[in-house]
Subunit: 164 residues, 2 copies
């Protein structure tokens, strides 16, 4: 059987689904390169968006993923968590490939993002002001949408732009 | 404030929790290195275990993660999905760092694993016999258990050994 491309042409429905997955995500799986071994490391992180619609997280300097992102900003974020029922492989999810940058306490834009993040993750008020916690903003370079078995799309940053 | 290690000493409770997360996982987030960009790529995969207790998945040659694992077997698997309620960051999860190997149709052990996998994932009977689907077995080299905020452990393969 010859290999067929499973990628469908991007349409407005795929763009809207990808945008919704980003806007509604409250946590996700972050993949980084472990600086010690040079191999992948995936961990769970809380997720929100900044005012431009970029995905963001709030992470501690004590965590492995923060040390990895300080060494190398290339990362991947999987968004779109299935519920407890049904087949997780039919649930839509979005793989982002991104370059991360840190936004630390006292830097321009931190206060605005802090306020926005607290609305989305109210419980983070317990640690958001700790010195070792920083925001990380994910600059998306490429995205793979899987809308369920056989429904795969490749999306560009432009495809993911927030609605005006 | 001096940096403190957030890692607790491994105890039998941590070992048992990690083993339970592996044994009960039905899907997880797989992190690989994208051979095109050299950067991380995280995607959702179905998960089960083989008879030795090693995590396994059933993946298609058409997927990005399969091509990545063929190029380089180093990967990471995040297991332990939170339910729809509560704070996902307090839900226990396990990050595995592993070397993957493929087990393809007709190879020794494939029939046994096929039978076991079908019991755990009955719906996979729709595609488990497709030529492009292979098992991938994860040889765990290191594990990070996060039992909730501030409860972090580093585990060895021996810590994860199945109960006799």
């Amino acid at each position: 059987m010859p290999e067929q491309s499973p990628i469908r042409p991007t349409d407005s429905e795929a763009r809207a689904l990808a945008r919704t997955l980003i806007d509604t995500a409250r946590f996700g799986a972050l993949g980084v390169i472990d600086p010690e071994s040079g191999t992948p490391l995936v961990s769970r992180v809380a997720v929100a968006t900044d005012a431009s619609g970029a995905p963001v997280s709030l992470i501690s300097d004590l965590s492995h993923h923060t040390k990895a992102l300080e060494a190398r900003g290339d990362c991947s974020l999987l968004l779109g968590e299935p519920g407890p029922k049904g087949d997780p492989l039919t649930h839509p999810r979005l793989t982002l490939q991104a370059k991360s940058r840190f936004l630390r306490h006292g830097k321009p834009g931190h206060a605005e993002l802090r306020a926005r993040y607290l609305e989305i993750h109210p419980k983070s008020k317990l640690y958001i002001d700790f010195a070792d916690f920083s925001f990380v903003i994910f600059g998306v370079e490429r995205a793979y949408l899987n809308g369920g078995f056989g429904k795969a799309y490749e999306l560009t940053p432009k495809d993911l732009a927030s609605a005006p």
